[in-house]
Homo-oligomer: 216 residues x 2
Amino acid sequence: MRENIWSVDTCTCTLVNVKAVTRERNPRGQGERLRSDLVEAAVDLIAENRSIDGVSLRGAAKRAGVSPMAVYNHFEDKDALVEAAIQQCWNDFQVVIAEALEVDDPVARLRAAGDAYVRFGLAKPGQYAVMFTGGQTLPPHLVGIGLSSFDVLVQMVQDILDLNGDDRDALFVAAEVHTWIHGIVLLDGCVPNQVDWPSTDRLLDELMTRLGLTST
Amino acid sequence: MRENIWSVDTCTCTLVNVKAVTRERNPRGQGERLRSDLVEAAVDLIAENRSIDGVSLRGAAKRAGVSPMAVYNHFEDKDALVEAAIQQCWNDFQVVIAEALEVDDPVARLRAAGDAYVRFGLAKPGQYAVMFTGGQTLPPHLVGIGLSSFDVLVQMVQDILDLNGDDRDALFVAAEVHTWIHGIVLLDGCVPNQVDWPSTDRLLDELMTRLGLTST
DNA sequence: TGTACATCAGTGAACGCGCGTTCACTGATGTAC
DNA sequence: TGTACATCAGTGAACGCGCGTTCACTGATGTAC
């Protein structure tokens, strides 16, 4: 009965619109834990708003169960918090893709990566939108992460071309793959239910076939 | 010399951050002109922010050179203004596409429409993003406009399939076209300069060829 | 062993800003009598 | 022909809200002496 010392009314009153209000102060030397909590909260806001515009310093602080001022112990300003959140999105993405890269056969590898890519995009549409449609609004040093991810794609395509003795330009073919898969992800989350839209699986199969990226 | 009756300082001071401050009251019976000015201003805000989040009632009023309250003479509330702005974006889009539909040959017609589509997307990335990546946030009755535009695409594809005696499902092939072209438009505006990205023209040619939509 | 002190992990109050919306008002102009 | 009046196209002040940021503060805890 010890846990019921607070009435139900008190609980709902304080918890109804806010998560993690029950946070307790970190022990000495563990202050950095708040940093990752704040980043996580900011990523949640990105996920819900599908944009960095919906991320507010006060909102992230509230979710982390902390006063707005506590944010300044870990971040220069709001922009630094948002930047860390985007960085976190890219890290999560790269973890997902890295798994697929362990597949041996080049064709199966690209297909697995495509699958992982699409699954990430559909499961986390907010993060995906910020990462791949943010455009010029992204801080410059985060652009590099996107570039290195594209390099990985070019290499996967090159492996298949090599396997098939195909002399097309890998960068061009990779651009074809990326444009198409990007459209597949974004439209799937956007098409109204009335339309008998094809599954992403079927579209991915077609992509591989139509772009000549199967084994010959 | 009559035009210089105002000093340069006065001009810059009042015009620097605001357009059309010099609006004068519409004559009696012409009140509806403000409505279209407000819609235009809201579309400008969509264009600049690439999102409806950046559209504010006060911002649109300011651009139209009018007090925020004047908006309520023409729109129920802010949402109604935003909805009218999105509607306007679709109208502009349909005008652009309609031109291409006059081409006689089915293959050339789809190619012309694709060209018009891409040009619209690249010239008006903000409007394009709101129209094609807004998702569930769009008011339901605007979804119908998007659907009818997709129907036009399906018909164009069907015409080519008929011409070639190709028995593929037109809706499926149209979905392939739309996903790919969507990706082409969105990534083109987003890829960093370092990458030697292919031109949209070349990608469109490839799209037609790879998807088997040329004349046989 | 006791205690003063620096450090750490935060809080609280206040600022000016832009936002959507409310209510009450103004002042020119066409029209009915 | 003159004038009272309804209509039209707006304005002005105020409201409460959430925002980023500033400055000054608190109170627990480990550590040096």
